[in-house]
C-alpha cells in the first residue's frame, strides 16, 4: 500500500463534497442486478432511482442519447469538483480524454463535441488554423507535426491518431506529476502503461507497422525503453517477458484466453486492479488522492452504465454483460 498524503486541509471542502457524492455512486451489486434485468425499459426505469435521474431527458431512446446523458452526468460532477479543488490537475486528467476528442476534431476542422476544459476555445481555434503555440510545452512539438492543415502528415489519420495518443498520455503523466502524491503517481503510471500496451497490441493485431509508433508516440518517460522493446518484438507471446510487474502478470493471464477475449479482459482486469488500488483513498479524510479515486470511481460507473445500456438496447445476453461489469469504487 502506498502512503496517503497527510495534512492536506485545503482539500477539506472538496473532500466534504465527495463524502456526500460517494453515497450516490452505484455499487457493484446494483450493476449485477441491473445486468440481470431482461427488458431495457425496466433497466431505464431502475436508473430513475439513481443520481443519473437528474440528467435523464424524456424521449431518450437511442444509444447516442444515453451516451450523451452519461457523459454529461460524469462531466458535470467532475467539473463541479474541479471548481472546489485547490489544484485542478487531478480533475483535469479525467476530463482530458474529452479535450483530446475536441482537439482531434479541431485539427480536422470540425466543431468541438464536448464542453471545453483544458483546451480552451482559443486554443482549439488556433490549432484549427495550424498554430500550436498556445499548447503546453510538454505536447507542443508533437502537436505541431499534425497542426498544419496543409501538411502531408495531417492527411494521414493513423499518424494523427498516434501523435494525439502520445500527447494525451504525456500530458496525463505531466498533470499528475505536478501533484506530490505517491499513490496517484503510481496509479497514473499503471494507467498509461495499460493504455500503451492496448494501443500497441491493437496495432499489432491490425497489422500496422509498429515503427510508426516509435516515431510518433515517443517520448514518453518512463516508458521509452519499454515501448522500444515492445515495438521491436513482433512475436506477441514474448511481450509477457517484457511487460513488468502486476500488469505483466495480468497480460500473461489474458494472453491465454481466446483471441477475441484477450484485449477486453486485459482492460477489465487492469481496471479492476486499479480500482482496488485507489480504494485505499477512502481512508483519507482530506487530500487529492480522495478526489482522484472518486473521479476514477465515477468513470468506472459510467463504463458500467454504458455497457449495460448498450447491451440491453442491443439485446445482448445477461451473462455476457455481467461478466464484463467492472469493479466499482463503492
Amino acid at each position: 500500500m502506498k502512503a496517503l498524503s497527510k495534512g492536506q486541509h485545503r482539500w477539506g471542502f472538496v473532500c466534504g463534497q465527495i463524502s456526500v457524492l460517494e453515497g450516490r455512486l452505484m455499487s457493484y451489486d446494483f450493476f449485477m442486478n441491473l445486468g440481470s434485468i431482461e427488458k431495457s425499459e425496466d433497466v431505464l426505469h431502475r436508473l430513475q432511482e439513481t443520481a443519473l435521474r437528474e440528467f435523464m431527458v424524456p424521449g431518450a431512446e437511442t444509444w447516442e442519447d444515453w451516451s450523451t446523458i452519461i457523459d454529461s452526468y460524469v462531466h458535470s460532477q467532475i467539473n463541479e469538483l474541479k471548481k472546489a479543488c485547490p489544484s485542478p490537475e487531478i480533475t483535469d486528467v479525467f476530463l482530458l480524454s474529452e479535450d483530446y476528442i475536441n482537439l482531434k476534431r479541431a485539427i480536422n476542422g470540425r466543431n468541438p463535441l464536448f464542453p471545453k476544459n483544458v483546451f480552451s476555445e482559443l486554443r482549439l481555434t488556433e490549432i484549427a488554423s495550424g498554430n500550436p503555440s498556445l499548447f503546453p510545452e510538454v505536447i507542443r512539438p508533437a502537436i505541431s507535426t499534425v497542426a498544419n492543415p496543409a501538411g502531408a502528415q495531417s492527411e494521414n489519420p493513423i499518424i494523427t491518431d498516434i501523435v494525439l495518443d502520445g500527447c494525451y498520455l504525456r500530458q496525463y503523466l505531466w498533470l499528475l506529476s505536478n501533484l506530490d502524491c505517491p499513490l496517484l503517481k503510481d496509479w497514473s503510471e499503471f494507467r498509461v502503461l495499460t493504455k500503451l500496451i492496448v494501443v500497441l497490441w491493437r496495432a499489432l493485431k491490425s497489422g500496422h507497422n509498429l515503427k510508426l509508433f516509435l516515431q510518433y508516440l515517443l517520448p514518453l518517460e518512463p516508458f521509452n525503453h519499454l515501448i522500444n522493446e515492445l515495438c521491436a518484438t513482433t512475436e506477441l507471446r514474448s511481450w509477457g517477458n517484457i511487460i513488468p510487474g502486476v500488469i505483466g502478470d495480468i497480460w500473461r493471464e489474458c494472453f491465454e484466453l481466446s483471441e477475441d477475449e484477450q484485449i477486453p479482459k486485459f482492460e477489465q482486469k487492469v481496471s479492476d486492479f486499479m480500482t482496488q488500488q485507489v480504494k485505499q483513498a477512502k481512508l483519507q479524510t482530506m487530500g487529492p488522492e480522495r478526489v482522484g479515486a472518486f473521479c476514477w470511481g465515477l468513470n468506472m460507473e459510467a463504463f458500467n452504465l454504458k455497457l449495460i445500456i448498450s447491451g440491453k438496447l442491443n439485446g445482448l445476453p445477461s451473462n455476457m454483460l455481467k461478466d464484463r461489469i467492472r469493479q466499482t469504487y463503492v
Binding site: R10, G12, F13, G16, Q17, S19, V20, A84, T285, M286
Partner: protein, 173 residues
C-alpha cells in the same frame, strides 16, 4: 533579590503562563474548527439539511479555547491579579508559567487533532447520517485529554497558590 523585583518577576511569569494557556488554546481551537469547517462546507454544499448535526461536530474543537480561558482566569484570580494583590514568588511564577505553557500545548495539539477527527466524523455523517451518534464519540475521545490538562491546571494552580511559603514571602518574613 530585592523583594519588589522578585514579586514583579513572579507576577510577570504567571501572567505570561496565563497568556500562553489562552493563546495556544484559542489558536488550536481556531485551527481545529478551521479544519472541520472545510469539510462541513463541502458536505453542506451537497446536503444542507445536515447542518444541525454537523454543527455539533464543528463546535467540538472549540472547547480547548475555553479551557485555556478558564486556566488563564484561574491564574489571574488565584494570583491576586484581579483582586489587586499580587502574591507570587519567582518560583511559583515560574511554575505557573511552565504550567500555562504545558496546558497550552496540550490544548493546541488536542484541538488540532480533534479538528481532524471531527472532519473524519463529518465524512462519516455525510455518507451515513444515521451514524451521527457514534460519530460524535470519535472526536470526543480526543476531548478527554484536553479535559485532563484542564483538571491538572485547576489542581496545580490551587495547590501552588495556596502554599504557606507564598504568604510568608509576601509578609516579608
Amino acid at each position: 533579590m530585592e523583594h519588589a523585583l522578585a514579586i514583579e518577576i513572579g507576577r510577570g511569569l504567571a501572567i505570561a503562563g496565563a497568556g500562553l494557556a489562552v493563546g495556544l488554546g484559542c489558536s488550536g481551537s481556531g485551527k481545529g474548527i478551521g479544519i472541520a469547517s472545510q469539510a462541513v462546507g463541502g458536505v453542506l454544499s451537497e446536503k444542507p439539511d445536515l447542518f444541525g448535526r454537523l454543527l455539533v461536530l464543528l463546535a467540538l474543537p472549540g472547547t480547548q479555547g475555553f479551557y485555556g480561558f478558564i486556566t488563564a482566569i484561574l491564574i489571574f484570580v488565584r494570583s491576586g491579579l484581579i483582586t489587586g494583590q499580587m502574591i507570587i514568588t519567582p518560583g511559583t511564577g515560574l511554575a505557573l508559567f511552565v504550567l500555562g505553557f504545558g496546558v497550552g500545548l496540550a490544548l493546541y495539539f488536542s484541538a488540532q487533532w480533534q479538528g481532524e477527527a471531527s472532519a473524519a466524523s463529518i465524512s462519516l455523517v455525510a455518507r451515513r447520517p444515521e451514524a451521527f451518534g457514534r460519530s460524535v464519540i470519535l472526536p470526543a475521545m480526543v476531548e478527554t485529554y484536553a479535559v485532563v490538562a484542564l483538571l491538572v491546571a485547576i489542581l496545580a494552580i490551587n495547590w501552588l497558590t495556596a502554599s504557606n511559603d507564598v504568604t510568608a514571602f509576601v509578609r516579608g518574613q
